[in-house]
């Protein structure tokens, strides 16, 4: 056994997935899941930069009550582009398509995903979606908000000219997401090697599996809805337009039937990452594996039944509102279970406060607030007051950015040594994480306060009484932006100048830590052994390598 690992290490010097073949084409048309994952990662981070620039524009515009930077129309475009880019191009694909693609097959012990060609096609669809978004900016822009609510979005006299390309973009991105989901479901069902039973899978796989189910079942609905919108806007068929006998509120049902589950497409895989981060970096068997695994599936299922909570003031019937409110509360239970299980995992652990762990802990803190504030939104009478205010803006940023994106960034740091074969600067990593954490909370906590005190969302101008909150919020966002810039710098620096990463720098036990860093072209020279992926007792610290090895006397599973 020991000899196999030594062999891996020798291999890694010469041949790995990064240098196995050369040239730009060997990347753009690669069928290797690791390369596709890396291409996703690069593109998604660039899209994150784009969405982030618009976010900063919005924040600086709101420094003064009359708006400091833009015209009303420009502001409306800015928040639309920010939202659409961040949701469709960044957060939805971030964890599954970028990290999932890279990690999932290796964690599972497979050589690739089930359909490598489809996987590549998904990535190209993502690029196509991006192209359509850019076209929409060039053809008059979009000012509908990322929600494309009717009848505003179908009324050519009201909304701007770029709506149709933007809709096509979102449609195409939907298919990219569906294909990724299909691929993962089949991979997890069919490509598990001997010994990898369902309940031996790392929790990240449970998270991506639950996500994939939602991607496959919910995304087609938004596809059809967007098509209907396109047809209606182009040919004036009355589906959603009341002037033509349509029903504008019907659109909201269709939209949220997808977009609520989409929130779980964003958060579930991030929760999966956090389960890995917490366990690995406290060297401690995850507490309550089955509860966490089942709660992912439960969230995915309940997620389909709660879309109406976005419509408590839309004029839908009181009875319907009451039912949706009730079911919505049920989602809070599996979320609470996860948080308590993570905390219990810390208990009696050996906690290293390194960068990935700091992100993991930030996640628990921020998701704590994001989840708890969900209670105010699920409760009928308080939501009537809070709906469409900055309270909601703050709530979903706590969940989508502060949780999903922070989980993603934590995952990037966790698997960075594996993906690039390099170590980043740990001190800068921690410093940047603290900046992001503080900046995030300063930015969005103030938004809870101004929201419940009466600040409506999507306002380019506002009452002077809210200025103090807005100024604090903008200061926070600047701190956060600084944190991200520093992160970009030290990560890029590590690619060129970083120390070589050991095979297993953190003491991870899942299979990806058994192959070299970066992994060889076909992941495993020989079939790895599957054991309890949270049993860390078989690992031992190797001072020379600055990483972990198998303990010589450890009993190997299967032996």
């Amino acid at each position: 056994m020991i000899t196999t690992e030594a062999k891996h290490d020798n291999l890694s010097m010469s041949d790995n997935y990064l240098n196995h073949t050369k040239g730009i084409k060997s990347w753009l048309f690669t069928l290797d899941h690791k390369r596709i994952g890396m291409m996703y990662l690069i593109c998604i981070l660039l899209a994150f930069l784009l969405g982030g620039i618009f976010a900063m524009l919005i924040r600086f515009h709101l420094l003064t009550p009359d708006g400091a930077l833009m015209t009303q129309d420009q502001y409306n475009q800015a928040f639309t582009v920010h939202g659409a880019v961040m949701v469709f191009l960044v957060i939805i694909p971030a964890v599954p398509a970028a990290l999932g693609n890279f990690v999932l097959p290796i964690m599972l012990g497979a050589k690739d995903v089930a359909f490598p060609r489809l996987n590549l096609f998904s990535w190209w669809l993502w690029i196509l979606g991006l192209v359509f978004f850019l076209i929409s900016l060039g053809t008059g822009g979009v000012d509908t908000g990322w929600t494309f609510y009717t009848p505003y979005s179908i009324d050519k006299a009201s909304s701007m000219g770029g709506v149709i390309p933007a809709l096509i973009g979102a449609f195409v991105l939907g298919f990219s997401s569906i294909f990724t989901g299909m691929n993962f479901i089949v991979t997890i069902h069919r490509l598990r090697p001997v010994g990898m039973t369902w309940f031996r899978m790392p929790l990240f796989l449970w998270g991506t599996y639950a996500t994939a189910i939602i991607q496959v079942l919910a995304t087609p609905v938004i596809g059809i809805t967007l098509l209907l919108l396109i047809v209606e806007r182009s040919f004036g068929i009355g589906i959603f337009d009341p002037a033509l006998g349509g029903d504008p509120v019907l659109y909201q049902h269709f939209f949220w039937f997808y977009s609520h589950p989409a929130v779980y497409i964003m958060i579930l895989p991030a929760m999966g990452i956090v389960s890995e981060l917490i366990a690995v970096h406290s060297h401690r068997h995850i507490f309550g594996y089955k509860f966490i695994a089942y709660s992912s599936i439960a969230i995915a299922m309940f997620g389909f039944l709660v879309w109406g909570h976005h419509m408590f003031t839309s004029g839908q019937s009181q009875l319907v509102n009451i039912i949706f409110s009730l079911i919505t509360f049920s989602v809070s239970i599996p979320s609470a279970i996860k948080v308590f299980n993570w905390l219990a995992t810390l208990y009696k652990g050996s906690i290293s406060l390194n960068t990935p762990m700091l992100y993991g802990l930030s996640f628990i803190f921020i998701f704590g607030i994001g989840g708890l504030t969900g209670l105010y939104c699920a409760t009928l009478n308080t939501d009537v007051h809070l709906h469409d205010s900055y309270f909601i803006v703050a709530h979903f940023h706590y969940v989508m950015m502060g949780s999903a994106l922070i989980g993603f960034i934590g995952g990037i740091h966790h698997w960075w040594p594996k993906m690039t074969g390099k170590m980043y600067n740990e001190a800068w990593g921690r410093f940047a994480c603290v900046l992001v954490f503080v900046g995030f909370n300063v930015t969005f906590f103030t938004q809870f306060m101004m929201g419940s005190r009466g600040m409506p969302r999507r306002y380019a101008t506002y009452q002077p009484e809210f200025q103090t909150y807005h100024v604090i919020s903008t200061i926070g966002s600047t701190i956060m932006a600084l944190g991200f810039v520093i992160t970009a710098i030290y990560l890029l620096h590590s690619v060129f100048k970083g120390k070589k990463a050991p095979r297993n720098p953190w003491g991870g036990r899942s299979l990806e830590w058994q192959c070299s860093s970066p992994p060889p072209w076909d992941n495993f020279a020989e079939q790895p052994e599957v054991g309890d992926c949270y049993d860390f007792s078989v690992l031992v610290w190797n001072e020379e390598e600055q990483g972990y090895d198998w303990r010589k006397d450890a009993v190997h599973p299967g032996e």
Partner: protein, 363 residues
């Protein structure tokens, strides 16, 4: 039961006039209940958040890594414990749900004998009709204190939403159907009303003020409002129109000559008088003016532009002007036409209004 106990525990913090840390001042009968629910959830959240953070920080200090070697052997699960933290939150959320639902039913169920106001949302202004008095207000709504008021609302174009934070009420305003909202104001004063469903360019300027006035002043105020223009002489009409009617047009028509969604009112009368308007059909207004033509007098064109704007669309614009049929009385249309004729006397070079409604100059 639970509600009353919890209530007596929590309600010892009376909101000041500026409201609390979290909520604005409360000025309607339903606000109290919503604030109570809000406070209840607050305390539950404070508790759970404290538990999470304290546990996290304590564990991170107590169990921080001392050596890189693997030493841990904590429990991997504990079914009793896990069931506890599944079931305890479940019970709590059932309580929250129930409190919220009961509050919501009160919030939605309008009492008998409400004073009714018809609300029309239109990009980007609010029109309030008082059928009982035949009075119309734009951008402001006057209601009596201590009497339930029901707003029956619809939109002329896209979605809007009425939100009065101090009353804790909100309802979407939808084209092609009615939605409704009720409240009973508890304090005399002025309150902010916002549009809170995104509706395009000037969404953030689609605001109105709610004036809550004493009941005994209400009837007199409304009667005066309903008929103020009826007894006016022709000379008084322009000042009335620019102060009371122009706010329905301001979102699309400027006074300073810059064109917006519609052409500026600045110089409009000079153009129309001589027929210097081109339509998208290629026709010119000049051919429709004069003896035995469609309009005859230029005033008729303006009247038609207001009542039936789709008839002729001015070149360079979209036919997005709504009809004001039924919303403006004949005399009010006359007032608008007088306003166009005297616009120079009513505004300065920058398009600022320079006279008050009673004709006195603004300071």
């Amino acid at each position: 039961m639970i509600e009353t106990i919890l209530y007596s525990l929590l309600s010892n913090v009376p909101p000041t006039d500026n409201g609390t840390f979290w909520l604005p001042r409360s000025a309607s009968t339903v606000a109290e209940n919503i604030d109570f629910t809000f406070e209840l959830i607050n305390w539950i959240c404070y508790f759970f958040f404290a538990v999470i953070v304290v546990a996290m920080v304590l564990f991170c200090i107590k169990y921080r890594r001392k050596s890189p070697n693997m030493t841990c052997d904590g429990p991997t699960h504990n079914t009793a414990l896990e069931l506890t933290w599944t079931i305890a939150p479940l019970l709590l959320v059932v309580v929250i749900f129930t409190v919220g639902m009961r509050g919501y039913l009160d919030l939605r169920e309008a009492p008998e004998g409400c004073y009714e106001v018809q609300v029309t949302g239109q990009k980007w202004s609010w029109t309030f009709n008082h059928p009982e008095f035949g009075a119309t207000q734009v951008g402001e709504l006057t209601v009596p204190v201590g009497k339930p008021v029901r707003l029956l609302m619809t939109s002329n174009d896209v979605l809007h939403s009425v939100w009065i934070p101090d009353f804790r009420v909100k309802m979407d305003v939808i084209p092609g159907r009615y939605t409704s909202l009720w409240f009973e104001a508890t304090k005399v004063g002025d309150y902010q009303l916002n549009c809170t469903e995104y509706c395009g360019k000037d969404h953030s300027k689609m605001l109105a003020k709610v004036h809550v006035i004493p009941v005994d002043e209400f009837d007199a105020t409304m009667i005066k409002l309903a008929s103020e223009y009826e007894d006016m002489s022709r000379a008084e009409l322009p000042a009335y129109a620019i102060n009371r009617l122009y706010n329905r047009c301001v979102s699309c028509h400027s006074l300073d000559g810059s064109s917006g969604t519609g052409p500026s009112f600045n110089g409009l009368w000079d153009r129309v008088k001589v027929g210097q308007v081109k339509f998208t059909s290629g026709e010119a207004l000049s051919s429709l003016l004069g003896d035995a033509t469609e309009y005859g007098e230029p005033e008729n064109y303006i009247r038609e532009s207001i009542l039936n704007p789709q008839k002729h669309i001015v070149q360079g614009y979209l036919g997005s002007m709504p009809s004001f049929q039924g919303q403006l009385k004949e005399k009010q249309i006359t007032a608008m036409i007088e306003m166009f004729k005297h616009l120079d006397e009513l505004t300065d070079a920058n398009g600022n209004i320079t006279v008050n409604k009673d004709g006195t100059p603004t300071e």
